[in-house]
């Protein structure tokens, strides 16, 4: 079974999806570190903020963004597989409707968050 | 050689075999059942049946109607006492299958629904979308798992019956995965091996439908009855022969020729009406519809396709996509996958193809053959309900009704007879092994089995098609005799023991040649036209008509080693329906009313 996942694009997508979960974890750690720094006082917090602005950090965050976006997209794709069927008005909701609803909700939520952050920053 | 001692041996794991196994298990859990099948049971060809199973269901229907439809549909060659039992048991068995989980299609209020079918006066065909056979088979297979007394011999290929003291006492089979032989003893043996339609070229049938059980019984002196009656289903996919169920027409589909004309009205099936009407037009019986195709072709009114040949159109467009998806999902998928046609947008090109063998191993109403201890059920048997032409949806019910009968009878027998003499049975089994092994190990042959098979199916199509004449039938008989000779010179590429399907195919071909001979010789000897056996010849065309004086009789073909089969004739059991003109459409309705009036 060694290297089984390389044999088929479907498996590759699955493995990349699973691997991108590590990026989600990585970002959670970054945020956690920020929280710890905040608790350690102003100086530590400013230092963390500065570190976040470094070009390396920005490249890292961009990479995180791409990976997490991929994870989110493929995560919604798994919805019809993993959920019990949703019945509306006696009719089963089509899998692609479930997926696109998930995507739409994620995009709207992201934009809303971006808007709020933009307003606060402004 | 491996030895297994069972009480009841069942050969064939399709609908009939499984139903029989369950019947034995239910009648006495202490009986040991051996279910021998050359494929895993759910691969059996019952799986491909589409339309449904007939059984009286509605208030406005009656056993009497079902009886008359069946006997008239069979052109009065039915055993009427057996038909009577059959129609009464049909709803019982279909209901039992519902209890076992068969997902019959339902009405809005949750009851089992029924659909119209060809030659049936009232709609009485229970259906599970257009995968009725599939659901029946899987329900039976899965239910059979409940019974620990059923021991399955999956992928075991039966090569002979064991006969001792004038009774059948077991079988010899090859374990396909190893090539090892096994002797399976049994006090009763039930053959449930299905039909033999693969002796023809263009058929709806799976590769496994090779008449094994028929040939086995035949070689042991049991008659093959009414073998000349082979059903052409009128709506099959050209070239492959894959089936477009009669339910296409039951649900309202049209058959039209190259002018878009519903030609069936020209063949005693009219007049046209707006709505589908039972026993009219497209809801006529299969033999008549296939014969009408032949005439349309003669008149040059079929559509000529460069690859597919002559076809007519099965038009389902007016039924609408949603309805087609609900009622005929498999048909929809098949048209799309195999032909690239969307049946909601385009008509489907179809032509007749071989579908069913009405005849088979001659049995009485209790499913017992002339060889004590040997029973036969399902398509491999001729219990007498189909006569000269089977009505669509009677055969799935037959599997259940007579599977139960044979199971009960075989169980009764198994409890009453003493076990056989194992030593002498083993000697027989070893002789059978040597015979079958010789085919695999012999050298010096030159004939490929594919070539012999090709010549056989071509010859059967030429001689035993929808319309038949003496000359070509005789040519087929002669050709089959030659093929028998050529078969002796067969050469196999594979002489290994594990999974040697070439060897098994050769044994099948041997079976097929026997069955084909029974068909062709029975056909040439029946000098009349009845049901699916239609002739164009005779002095002044005498054979083009039904001849009740000379041929209201079953034909019985008997095996003659190394020669053509011997054909004799037996009486037909008539109880309450004397032979009458077989008419459909408006004429049929008139005849029905007259019959009713005279009965009052």
């Amino acid at each position: 079974m060694d290297g089984w996942w390389k044999k088929n694009p479907f498996y590759v997508e699955y493995m990349v999806h699973e691997a991108t979960a590590l990026f989600v974890a990585a970002y959670a750690i970054v945020l956690l570190v920020g929280l710890v720094r905040l608790g350690q006082g102003l100086e530590a917090w400013t230092g963390w903020l500065e570190a976040m602005k470094s070009p390396l950090s920005i490249v890292f965050h961009l990479a995180l963004l791409v990976a997490i976006a991929y994870h989110a997209l493929t995560w919604f794709k798994l919805f019809p597989l993993t959920m019990p069927p949703i019945v509306v008005n006696g009719k089963r909701v089509e899998p692609n409707v479930v997926v696109s609803t998930g995507w739409t909700a994620a995009i709207i939520a992201s934009l809303a968050l971006l808007g709020i952050v933009w307003r606060i920053a402004a | 050689m491996e030895i297994y001692k069972a009480d009841v041996v069942i050969v064939g794991g399709g609908g009939a075999g499984l139903r029989a196994a369950i019947a034995v298990a239910e009648s006495d859990p202490s009986l040991k059942i051996a279910l021998v099948s050359k494929v895993y049971p759910m691969r059996s060809h019952t799986v491909a049946a589409e339309g449904g199973a007939a059984g009286v269901k509605r208030e406005d229907d009656s056993f009497d109607y079902h009886f008359h439809d069946t006997v008239g549909g069979g052109d009065w060659l039915c055993e009427q006492d057996v038909v009577e039992y059959f129609v009464q048991q049909a709803p019982v068995e279909l209901t039992r299958l519902e209890h076992w989980g068969c997902p019959w299609s339902r009405t809005a209020d949750g009851h089992v629904n029924v659909r119209p079918f060809g030659g049936m006066k009232i709609q009485r065909t229970w259906f599970a979308a257009d995968k009725s056979g599939f659901h029946i088979l899987h329900t039976l297979f899965q239910t059979s798992i409940k019974y620990p007394s059923i021991k399955r011999f999956d992928e075991y290929f039966c090569v002979d019956l064991l006969e001792e003291d004038g009774r059948c006492q077991g079988v010899v089979a090859i374990e396909m995965g190893t090539g090892e032989f096994t002797m399976i003893e049994g006090k009763s043996v039930i053959l449930a091996t299905g039909g033999a339609g693969r002796v023809f070229r263009e058929s709806t049938l799976g590769g496994i439908v090779t008449g094994d059980g028929m040939a086995l019984a035949f070689r042991h002196g049991v008659a093959l009855r009414d073998m000349e009656f082979v059903q052409y289903h009128p709506t099959c996919m050209p070239i492959t022969g894959l089936l477009f169920t009669e339910a296409c027409r039951g649900e309202g589909g049209y058959l039209v020729n190259k002018d878009g004309y519903r030609y069936l009205q020209d063949y005693g099936l009219g007049p046209l009406s707006d709505k589908p009407k039972n026993k009219y037009m497209e809801l006529g019986p299969r033999d008549r519809l296939s014969q009408a195709f032949w005439y349309e072709q003669q008149k040059g009114r079929t559509i000529e396709h460069p690859v597919m040949g002559s076809v007519v159109h099965l038009d389902l467009r007016h039924l609408g996509e949603a309805y087609l998806h609900e009622r005929l999902p498999l048909i929809y998928e098949m048209a799309e996958t195999f032909m690239g046609i969307d049946p909601a947008k385009e008509p489907i090109p179809v032509r007749p193809g071989v579908h069913y063998t009405m005849g088979g191993v001659c049995v009485d109403g209790k499913c017992e053959t002339s060889l004590p201890g040997l029973y036969a059920i399902g398509e491999c048997a001729s219990v007498g309900i189909h006569g000269a032409n089977r009505l669509g949806s009677n055969s799935l019910t037959e599997l259940l009704v007579f599977g139960k009968v044979a199971g009960d009878e075989a169980a009764k027998r198994a409890k009453s007879v003493a076990p056989g003499n194992s030593a002498s049975l083993l000697k027989q089994a070893e002789a059978a092994e040597q015979r079958v092994m010789a085919l695999r190990t012999k050298s010096g042959g030159t004939e490929r089995i594919a070539d012999i098979r090709k010549d056989m199916v071509k010859s059967m199509e030429d001689g035993c098609g929808i319309y038949r004449v003496e000359e070509t039938m005789q040519a087929t008989c002669d050709k089959l005799g030659q093929l028998r000779e050529r078969f002796k010179n067969v050469k196999l590429d594979d002489n290994s023991s594990v999974w040697n399907t070439e060897w098994l195919n050769a044994i099948e071909l041997d079976y097929q040649l026997d069955v084909a001979q029974a068909m062709a010789h029975s056909a040439v000897n029946r000098k009349e036209s009845r049901g699916a056996h239609q002739r164009l010849d005779g002095p002044d065309g005498a054979y083009t008509k039904r001849d009740d004086v000379n041929f209201l009789k079953h034909s019985d073909a008997f095996y003659v080693p190394g020669a053509a089969p011997r054909i004799t004739y037996g009486d037909v059991k008539i109880t309450k329906s004397p032979p009458a003109a077989r008419v459909y459409g408006a004429e049929g309705e008139k005849a029905d009313q007259e019959r009713k009036a005279s009965n009052v």
């Binding site: 996942w5 | 691969r43 799986v47 491909a48 519902e98 690859v307 590429d493 594990v498 999974w499 040697n500």
Partner: protein, 250 residues
């Protein structure tokens, strides 16, 4: 008639009595556009080498016999067409994740044992006699399970499932879908009996939601969905055990 085209079919051969290991053989097969890959294999058997071994019967994607890996993807060879690969070579191999018996024939005994183990029959909730007639099943009740009745046992989903490859004891997509089919049937009351196996070490939690089983299913059964729904059911059952004296899963 169109000009005869020829396709190369590469077959993974294995004759256990003479081959140490599987080997490839290439055949040049003339074909017409209506020919399936199965017909290609039949052509080879009829004309080139009678020892080529594969299972087949119905030719119409309902008997479930003729599954094989076609260019690495599990498919029913009867409904896969040569024209869709031409002019490239077609590679056919035995279904993945099963032991090969000979050429394209795999050992299905393990799969059959799994099917049998999940008790795939109605365990009546309320027994009924034939005289009482059929059970009533509303369209909504019917819709709950009908999709899961369509499995033809072709085992393509087992060939598609990497978890089956890693743990051959995993009862796998089709068998779990069949258990789910009976659990969801309004006539059935056997869910608790089936739960033991579904929640066992070889049960639903082997699945990591790859989802390829549902992708390759030729009958749109969506076995992956059945497996995942039963993860939820098994979890519910587990927690209900603590609450109910008799255990969960009614």
């Amino acid at each position: 008639m169109s000009e005869q085209k020829v396709i190369e079919i590469e077959v993974l051969r294995y004759l256990p009595e003479s081959d140490q290991a599987p080997r490839s053989e290439v055949y040049k097969v003339p074909f017409t556009d209506d020919m399936s890959v199965l017909q290609g294999a039949q052509y080879i058997k009829d004309h080139f080498d009678g020892s080529l071994t594969f299972r087949w019967s119905c030719r119409m994607a309902i008997c479930g016999s003729c599954g094989m890996m076609i260019n690495g993807i599990p498919k029913l060879s009867c409904e896969t067409f040569i024209r869709d690969y031409y002019p490239n070579r077609i590679t056919i191999e035995a279904l993945a994740n099963f032991p090969i018996e000979k050429d394209l024939v795999v050992d299905l005994s393990g799969f059959i044992e799994k099917l049998e183990a999940i008790q795939p029959y109605i365990i009546p909730k309320e027994p009924r006699t034939v005289e009482q007639g059929e059970y009533i099943q509303t369209p909504a009740q019917f819709a709950e399970y009908i999709q899961f009745t369509s499995c033809i046992n072709c085992t393509l989903c087992y060939a598609a499932c990497p978890q089956v490859g890693l743990n051959p004891e995993f009862i796998g997509p089709a068998a779990i879908a069949l258990a789910h089919r009976y659990n969801m049937d309004s006539r059935d009351g056997g869910q608790a009996q089936r739960m033991e196996l579904l929640a066992s070490e070889d049960g639903v939690y082997n699945c990591s939601a790859v989802g390829y089983c549902s992708e390759v299913c030729p009958k749109h059964v969506d076995p992956g969905n059945a497996v995942n729904i039963n993860k939820i059911n098994a979890a519910k059952d587990y927690f209900l055990r603590f609450l109910s004296p008799k255990g969960g899963a009614k």
